[in-house]
Symmetry: C2
Subunit: 426 residues, 2 copies
Amino acid sequence: MNYLKLSENQLKEILKIERQKYEGYKAKNLKLDMSRGKPCREQLDLSSPMLGILDEASDLKTENGFDTRNYALVDGIPEIKKLYAEILNVKENLVIAGGSSSLSLMYDTVQRGMQFGFAGSTAWGKLDRVRFICPAPGYDRHFAITQLFGIEMITVALKDDGPDMDAVEKLCADDESVKGIWCVPKFGNPTGVIYSDITVKRLASMKAAKDFRIFWDNAYSIHALKDNTRELLDILPECERVGNTDRAFIFTSTSKVTFAGAGVSFFASSENNIKEAKAVISIQTIGPDKINQLRHARFLKDKANTLAHMKNHAAIIKPKFDAVISILKKDLDGCGIAAWTNPDGGYFISVDVLNGTAKRVVALAKDAGVVLTPAGATYPYGKDPNDGNIRFAPTLPPLGELITASEIFVNCIKIAAAEKLTATVS
Amino acid sequence: MNYLKLSENQLKEILKIERQKYEGYKAKNLKLDMSRGKPCREQLDLSSPMLGILDEASDLKTENGFDTRNYALVDGIPEIKKLYAEILNVKENLVIAGGSSSLSLMYDTVQRGMQFGFAGSTAWGKLDRVRFICPAPGYDRHFAITQLFGIEMITVALKDDGPDMDAVEKLCADDESVKGIWCVPKFGNPTGVIYSDITVKRLASMKAAKDFRIFWDNAYSIHALKDNTRELLDILPECERVGNTDRAFIFTSTSKVTFAGAGVSFFASSENNIKEAKAVISIQTIGPDKINQLRHARFLKDKANTLAHMKNHAAIIKPKFDAVISILKKDLDGCGIAAWTNPDGGYFISVDVLNGTAKRVVALAKDAGVVLTPAGATYPYGKDPNDGNIRFAPTLPPLGELITASEIFVNCIKIAAAEKLTATVS
């Protein structure tokens, strides 16, 4: 039943039925939150044995003999650097292990660009204009950082294989003021996209300002929901191969491996960039929390063990993704008013509703007790030009609640679409 | 035996004897590090029970019901905010509990001043000139931050009751470009100074630029070595009383309460300042490591218990301070070539040697296997105009090593002084 082909009367009938359903949902006084990509209790429990992994009787020394309880090692302890060097497939000396927030590392890196500039180029803050390319739909917290620093954001479409590279290449070739691009290259927030090899190669090799930097937020690098998902091409060697050695900054953390907000963050880049970053970080802090890094190293052990741990995460959250997608499919397939992703990994389902109805859907859902990510959040400045994209975060709620929330979501999508279409025809 | 009153021959005799001693020390091939204020193993052991305080079976919820393993609470968990509100004697809603490094909070605060400005004033980075007052001798890591941001540092003498307030008042009254002052107001690094009530009142009430800020690094607020030490007047109420409500930023951490570099940091200020800081911090991070905050709250419990814990620290390190001071006294009293502090708290002994000999003393000590803080480190730009101040950090080494290092230190002070005085008379 394609809504776009229905008569006004048929649409009005649908509207009546869906509104009745909606009143039923409202009467339940629900309070469900699908707004953020948070792990659920069962996922957090997977890592709780880590809490007791160190105690008073433990050997608290790093493998190179430093007491983790005292000052030292501004770039982190060797054992955790080694583990994430292996996971990110970079050399250990090119990794900095930080505190609990990779978002802070990104903020700090933008801040260093603004205040000091990179590799001898003029500090961005001294330029008349600084622009960042923001593939969208994307991650609202990235956009918030660039907006805070007064960096102009240029939206570029995010396609199935990554950003629209024709547009990206043209922007970078023509304009020296384009200094960065935000990328979530694997299981990207919110569509689940994995950048194709060609996209990675084009990003690495395209013409751009000398101090143009790729902010490679590889937050979900090992967060597969299915087996045998596609590999992401490594960005650093691609940059190095074509002589753009210092182009990429890699970020990741264990927030969705162990504990959200209480894990370990990582920064990886070229030798020059790491040296330059370390010079500032050594003034900013005496060092990260090495005890928490040791806890992580002892718990996660090695890459194989970490990947096995991630399979346990997938076993918990995959049924949630499946439940949402099966409801969307059952109720919306063929209606012509919604499309959604079925991601191989990551934390989100990206739903495109009828243009001009996303805000209405989110408002309707809110009044029925379901908090969704604000419409527009996936676009720079919170403004989705089509008012069409909604990010749905299925991981946090228990399955029962998630099913109810998804049914309400579908109900709201239908109401908003029927409202819009009857308004159009009338 | 006052060196300044000795004849050249007497001095040459001393030089000969002290140089013989020195060769004896050198032959021992020692490797002793007195350069940084690090807690020793026994101090760290005091907090090691905290490591096992949370495990898989623990209640991991905050008192307001948040799972510390998940995202939330950008300004920290209520129980740790409450504890430090009590310790800092400020309202709980004026405290932000952060990650493991208060130095990072200071860096971030200077960065916000440079990038965004405070309370609607022009961003410091947009001004032609930004100046900070740096009472000296002071903390080298403070000076490193201001230097990194290109802020001009003006040295003001640190006296027994705090900075030379006549000089500070004159600088601030005459010059709108003076935007800040670094203060370690209690058991200050390195002299152990406690600011007098008058100093605090004058800092709070003096004429200064609207966006002038006091960077109040109260790192050692509860780090007394002796009983009944003098109380520090609270800065926030003094500022508020005279209408300079937003003038002070307070920083502290548990680095020298629990674990160095793996504790909890705190920022406290006025309502406006906290609101303004939180607006940026909410973009910089989703939140601090709340599990480590919970660990600290459960371990430290309340102010009384925390103060009792600090007494245990004092019991370990006071004998070290006493040993150093007794050696300095025995060997240098009346020589006229050195003066030293006998602090009531904190981590350092500040030693003033004969002007023009501090670098030589540090170099001599280094060649004899004793690493001291570089001469000049306690002054802006690493330049002590008198080449006379040396910071001595007695906490880290075991008592035996500390005694040896102190004897070598005294030996080097004598050699450098005799060298200088014979050079002068010849």
